[in-house]
């Protein structure tokens, strides 16, 4: 059963609330680095919400752009890892193998979207915060790269359940934490191999564009352009 997981982000609906960031951090055992480390540029968020100002004036509007890992078909991060710690798997995901990573950080340098984050320290979860850690994935040691995995643990759980029950995966059954949480429903996730899925429809939407499309990375995340005009 072949899959091609992809995500669409509707910029008309995104309010920049940041709930996706919080949900992702909760789901994926992502440490909270603290204010000082964040000021040094050491945030560990797997999905971030970029904020751009439309113009340099007091009445400028903010544009919000959630940026998860693009899971590029031609991922520049995969080819520069000297130890195959990141590669492309059969489901079209850019896989990250924490145990193999030796921390050269070349993949982070080669990602034009800068979605890869590095474990600068061994982060601690003081009791009782360690009870919030998800057992479905590891807590990464220092010196290891990590990034958004499209909540691969949830994908795997749904795949196992569907295989058990002897059926195909239904559209909308797999929901990464960010997609599940987004209050206005700006994030949509699904399988491009299913031609009737919501995501396949959105990939054909005339509003769709890819970030840094000219770089030829062929990302699996598309954005739906914000419509300008009255009331928006």
């Amino acid at each position: 059963m072949k899959h091609r997981w992809a995500m669409a982000i509707d910029l008309d609906r995104c309010t920049g609330c940041g709930a996706c960031v919080v949900a992702c951090s909760a789901e994926n055992n992502i440490p909270v680095v603290g204010e000082e480390e964040a000021a040094k540029g050491r945030l560990m968020h797997w999905i971030r919400v970029n904020r751009y100002w439309e113009e340099d004036s007091p009445s400028a509007r903010a544009v919000y752009l959630p940026v998860p890992c693009m899971h590029c078909e031609r991922a520049p991060c995969e080819i520069v890892c000297p130890v195959y710690a990141t590669y492309h798997n059969e489901d079209g995901l850019n896989a990250m193998v924490y145990n193999r990573c030796i921390g050269t950080r070349y993949c982070a340098n080669n990602c034009p979207y800068s979605v890869r984050v590095f474990n600068w320290y061994d982060y601690k979860w003081e009791k009782p915060l360690d009870e919030q850690l998800s057992p479905d994935l590891s807590v990464r040691s220092r010196g290891v790269m990590e990034k958004c995995s499209f909540c691969v643990q949830r994908i795997r759980r749904v795949k196992d359940k569907a295989a058990e029950e002897g059926r195909k995966i239904r559209d909308g059954e797999v929901q990464p934490a960010c997609v599940q949480t987004c209050p206005p429903g700006a994030l949509v996730f699904g399988d491009l191999e299913d031609p009737d899925s919501e995501i396949s429809r959105l990939f054909r939407d005339p509003r769709r564009f890819r970030l840094f499309e000219h770089l030829g990375t062929e990302p699996h995340v598309v954005y739906l352009k914000r419509r300008k005009g009255a009331g928006v």
Binding site: R42, V67, V80, P82, I102, Y106, N109, Y113, V144, L215
Partner: protein, 464 residues
């Protein structure tokens, strides 16, 4: 006097004593110097262990500047290593008559700066203790390293260059080791006997030795060029604006030769002073090295201008933001680089007076080394700090951890050199003697000139 060669007029025993002074007498100053350097090195090692146990967070690195001073050091030391092999190899192949006193120190510099530089890819790893994942050995995981990664090309190339230049240094020393063996006693005699492999200087040995030396010189030049091209491809292969440029390979090679020649001049000036080698290392040698340095400064300026011109003309937004930052956040580094690489050295090195004065050319070479270091800082840091997505732009400044490790690398280089100069001949005594053997004084009219004989190859000359 015109027929007899200069070697016949030299007291060879005295020449030997003069040139091997570093091997004979060890003063308290050597021990004091080694002591201070050892302290710096030990401090650096301690800091490295601290970084390994605590995490890379103790450095100044961040997102997006994931590579900083440690990688700059890597490129810097590998660049310096291009000195010896290129000078030694090229001067050998072109039969440059002034090469003899420079060879050994230049080849040693190559070997030691390579040894130091090759450590940095291991130092900057996030999980250093798992470095062996990059070694292709059969393992139960069945996993092999990814040869498509420029870092693996680095591993292969630097390994080849390191083994090659160590061998080049060693083979170049064999006749001198035989000379030392015949002139020493005790543990030194035993060491030199083993290392000289029983070389005596028979006709058959010399003939084959010349062929081997020539082959080394021919082989090491393409290796040296390929090594720094591959180091440059660590950057050029990336999708980072300011890195992804086809000019990187020749640009880095030229920059490496540039910094390498400056390094050789620095080392030669120090050796000349410390071991009183004024008679062997004359202003003529510094003059010629200065001319080479002048040429490389011009070449470096040419390459830099070419790169700047294409980006400036095109104003491709991603690359232009990087170059714009040279005029803003990175202005001090940019000015330092331009001044120390071109604006000051090039005009000064055009002057004969500067080239012939050992102090002046020492100063200029020091500027060049500083300038080349800042050039690499600018390349590595500025491009990452102002890359594709403006939302995550962030500046970088090294912390005491990185600076300590940098200082320790300089200390290690100096220590390796000091130990080498104590045990091994830092002057290529056999080559110097060979030059004197081929040199006669010829009178042309009322003037006298030095004539250097070269044995004709078969086929040269007019139908004999």
């Amino acid at each position: 006097m015109s027929g007899e060669h200069l070697l016949a007029r030299t007291d060879e025993a005295q020449l030997f004593r003069d040139l091997s002074r570093s091997n004979q007498v060890t003063t308290w100053r050597w021990f004091a110097g080694m002591g201070i350097l050892a302290l710096v090195l030990l401090w650096g090692i301690g800091v490295f262990v601290y970084m390994m146990m605590t995490g890379m967070g103790v450095t100044g690195l961040n997102r997006p500047v994931f590579w900083g001073v440690l990688i700059v050091n890597f490129v810097f030391w590998i660049g310096l290593s291009h000195s010896g092999t290129l000078i030694s190899a090229i001067l050998r192949l072109t039969h440059a008559t002034w090469r003899a006193p420079i060879l050994r120190a230049a080849e040693a510099m190559t070997a030691f700066s390579l040894l130091v530089g090759a450590l940095f890819p291991l130092i900057h790893l996030g999980r250093n203790w798992r470095f062996y994942y990059t070694i292709p050995y059969p393992n139960e995981r069945g996993l092999w390293p990814n040869m498509r990664s420029p870092l693996m090309w680095d591993a292969v190339a630097i390994n080849t260059y390191l083994l090659g230049s160590l061998t080049f240094l060693y083979v170049g020393m064999i006749p001198d080791l035989a000379l030392l063996r015949d002139n020493s006693t005790g543990w030194r005699r035993r060491l030199y006997s083993i290392l000289s492999l029983g070389f005596r200087g028979t006709h058959a040995e010399w003939r084959r030795y010349r062929v081997a030396s020539t082959f080394f010189a021919i082989l090491i030049i393409p290796v040296a060029v390929s090594v720094h091209s591959i180091v440059s491809w660590d950057f050029a292969m990336a999708k980072v604006p300011g890195w992804h440029s086809t000019i990187f390979a020749p640009y880095f090679v030229v920059g490496a030769i540039f910094s390498g020649i400056a390094g050789v001049i620095l080392v030669m000036a120090v050796l000349r002073r410390v071991f009183r080698l004024e008679k062997a290392l004359t202003p003529l040698h510094f003059d010629n090295l200065g001319k080479l340095l002048c040429t490389m400064s011009l070449l470096w300026g040419y390459f830099y201008f070419t790169e700047f011109l294409t980006v400036w003309y095109n104003r491709n937004p991603e690359e232009w933001e990087v170059f714009r930052s040279y005029g803003k956040s990175f202005l001090p580094v940019f000015l330092l680089m331009i001044t120390c690489n071109f604006v000051v050295p090039f005009p000064l090195l055009c002057l004969r007076k500067v080239r012939r004065s050992v102090q002046a050319i020492f100063g200029v070479s020091l500027l060049v080394v500083v300038g080349m270091y800042s050039e690499r800082v600018l390349i590595v840091v500025a491009s990452l700090a102002r890359r594709n997505d403006p939302f995550i732009w962030h500046n970088y400044f090294p912390t005491w951890v990185e600076l300590s490790i940098t200082a320790a690398s300089f200390a290690m280089f100096a220590m390796l050199y000091m130990v080498f100069s104590k045990i091994f001949p830092i002057m290529a005594i056999s080559e110097i003697k060979e030059r004197l053997f081929h040199t006669t004084e010829r009178s042309i009219g009322s003037a006298t000139a030095e004539a250097i004989a070269r044995v004709e190859e078969h086929g040269e000359g007019e139908g004999k």
